[in-house]
Symmetry: C2
Subunit: 405 residues, 2 copies
């Protein structure tokens, strides 16, 4: 049976700790289908593809390919690039020139829009190319999928990091009373919520971007928690918004809009630090994991790695089977034990949509998550969290009167 054409795969948007597992899964699946000739990687996503910047992935030695499973960030390179009409034509020209019949693109909402358009235009122009979207985003904001590969490992990062931060803060509570942990998230609080998976060491207060930020309420929450415990750890989503929809801490600089018109985030944490210091006169400090939360190899969730490979493989399998213009999804199987299978959703349905946290994942007061969220997210972390110990603390009876002051 003759090969029907070549396959290309690309990585787009912010990297994740397991995005390379999707490449690995796609490559392994491609080996099983004689219809697939060459397997190419886009260098830096669609931006490289436009310049015919392609790598021949079949020429990579197996050790490197297998090493992708434990290698975070985008091994092919990535981009955030919005295609023009001319660019879309060029994508088809490059595809034709390299006889690409299977087109797989890994990314989030913006990427699925691009992928959807490529599929639509290929079909309209009569060029037979199967175009598949492979979901990826630490933000977990893609619709029609139980969750998104990349989220689980980032959630594991948030959970373990919060264990460390909360234990540190409590140990030194008389000195550094307020700690703000600013987590990534443009319009959705999934990652911020994941800090609650630290269980006994989860933040005292959690603010997600689904609910409007109320300055007065925030200060009252922090003060109450401080009175109760002597120190407060607060997880806050960088995309927190006021009641009018404006960002609580937006950067005004004109540089700070990306190719898709999204304003740049990042100042929220320092804003809350300043607020706590100036209004409550408590010492506050910022921890800002930034890039670390999306590309930390030591925090890869085994579930996430396996599922990222699974959606990569499924995209290739469905493409060979005749499917086009769909994104692979994850569908959670019936309880009790956690498992997922893959499903499909039309790319045009998923493009540019965001899945917000349901209201019942957030508590009534809007400053914590609920057990329902924890039940949803906990299996995604893969293995257990570190087994840190806490001393029992057998008090020695006092023998002196209290110190005179």
């Amino acid at each position: 049976m003759k090969a029907k054409g070549n396959l290309v795969i690309g990585q787009s948007g912010g990297p994740t700790a397991v995005i390379n597992n999707s490449v690995w899964g796609a490559l392994r699946e491609a080996e099983r289908h004689v219809e697939i000739g060459e397997v190419y990687g886009m260098v830096r996503g669609i931006q490289g593809f436009l310049q015919e910047d392609l790598w021949d992935l079949r020429r990579e030695d197996q050790a490197r390919i297998d090493g992708l499973r434990l290698t975070p960030s985008a091994a092919l390179g990535s981009c955030r690039y919005r295609l023009t009409d001319d660019d879309y034509d060029r994508v088809l020209d490059v595809s034709r020139a390299h006889d690409i019949r299977y087109f797989c693109y890994i990314g989030g909402g913006d990427t699925m829009h691009t992928t959807s358009e490529i599929g639509r235009r290929a079909a309209a122009s009569g060029y037979e190319m199967r175009v598949m979207g492979i979901p990826k985003t630490i933000d977990n904001d893609l619709p029609f999928t139980d969750h998104t590969p990349g989220f689980d490992s980032a959630a594991r990062y948030e959970a373990i990091t919060c264990m460390d931060i909360v234990r540190d803060t409590r140990a030194l509570r008389d000195t550094e009373s307020i700690k703000i942990v600013a987590t990534m998230g443009r319009n959705t609080g999934w990652l911020t919520a994941a800090t609650a998976l630290a269980d006994d060491y989860s933040p005292d207060l959690i603010y997600v971007s689904e609910l409007a930020f109320d300055r007065g309420r925030f200060l009252a929450d922090v003060e109450a928690a401080y009175r109760q415990r002597g120190c407060v750890v607060i997880a806050a989503c960088e995309g927190l918004k006021n009641a009018d929809g404006s960002l609580v801490a937006a950067r005004q600089d004109s540089l700070n809009t990306d190719a898709f018109g999204h304003p740049e985030l990042g100042g929220l944490g320092q804003y809350l630090v300043d607020l706590a210091m100036s209004e409550l006169h408590l010492k506050a400090r910022l921890d800002k994991p930034g890039t670390m939360q999306r590309s930390a190899g030591l925090f890869i969730s085994t579930v996430d790695a396996a599922e990222a490979a699974m959606v990569g493989a499924a995209a290739v399998r469905h493409a060979v089977g005749g499917t086009s213009a769909y994104m692979v999804t994850l569908e959670r199987c019936a309880e009790p034990a956690y498992s997922c299978t893959t499903g499909l959703v039309p790319l045009q349905d998923v493009a540019n949509q965001e899945k917000l946290m349901p209201r019942d994942f957030i508590n009534a007061e809007g400053n914590q998550v609920t057990q329902t969220f924890k039940d949803y997210a906990r299996p995604l972390l893969g293995g257990p969290l570190p087994a840190y110990v806490t001393l029992a603390g057998h008090s020695v009876p006092r023998r002196l009167p209290p110190q005179a002051r």
Copy 2:
């Protein structure tokens, strides 16, 4: 042979990932000496000791004690507290009341000053108590010791984190060009320098606090690196100072001076982000590991854990042997294979002194570290760094003329 008295151990200052190993080492050593009766832990350091807030550590079950080896942060609690004359008297009263004859205190420079004073006053008052300092600080700024327990694990954190950050930044280099990693460090750049241990993925530019920050030179460095590579990762010490000794980014708030009169740090990273954006018109982003770099359990260096236990045990052994008012040090043995033994230094010599990075650990331009530093620091990381792969990248020959623009 009758017990000669009880032992107390306390943890002070910023926690580290291995500070509990020093408690573990001291406890294990204490078991070997019949001279030692009870073993108490100070709850939240000397501040708790003043209130007779003590735990009976011999009543802890062994699983908890052994769990300390993998548990970051201060399991006994910690404090930053400057003792008054009355407090010093109280320390002796509490010591007498609980028949404490062995006094071990784990901490950095400020703590060693406190410990030195306690030893001096105990001797002056005729109360026989052996007072020992156990070194601890992620800052690595204690003198007379090859390095300080806690630093190694924090250095491992910086190295691995920079691998992740640099790979992430290069993958997405057309979008997020400049990344600032703001590392802890008041007057010394040891931790910032440790980012260079990421080898192929070490930051392009490293600025330590030993050299005066020059705004113009910084901008020229960043621009040159950007022209060369298309993206720049910069590690900068939060304690960077101007030529006149003032902090580049100090917080002016009156809250921001700690018990020892040190000004609070933290704003340096955002300052550099703003500088790069406004002057170079490049997109810049801040990663601020904050607390994470000192209390991250997943980054514990095996060398660090072993040495932290070793200095804890040595303190107890020397105290029982008759030594008092000394701090345990680490002495590096002759090459080739890395190993350390312990030594001793009088507490009064070490108190309130800071060990700066030697000039030959920093390059001539003041924007990178040297191989000499890497040779010094590399063995401290313990096991190998993660074996991430990079694809070989076999380019597919182009078949089209370049895209018309």
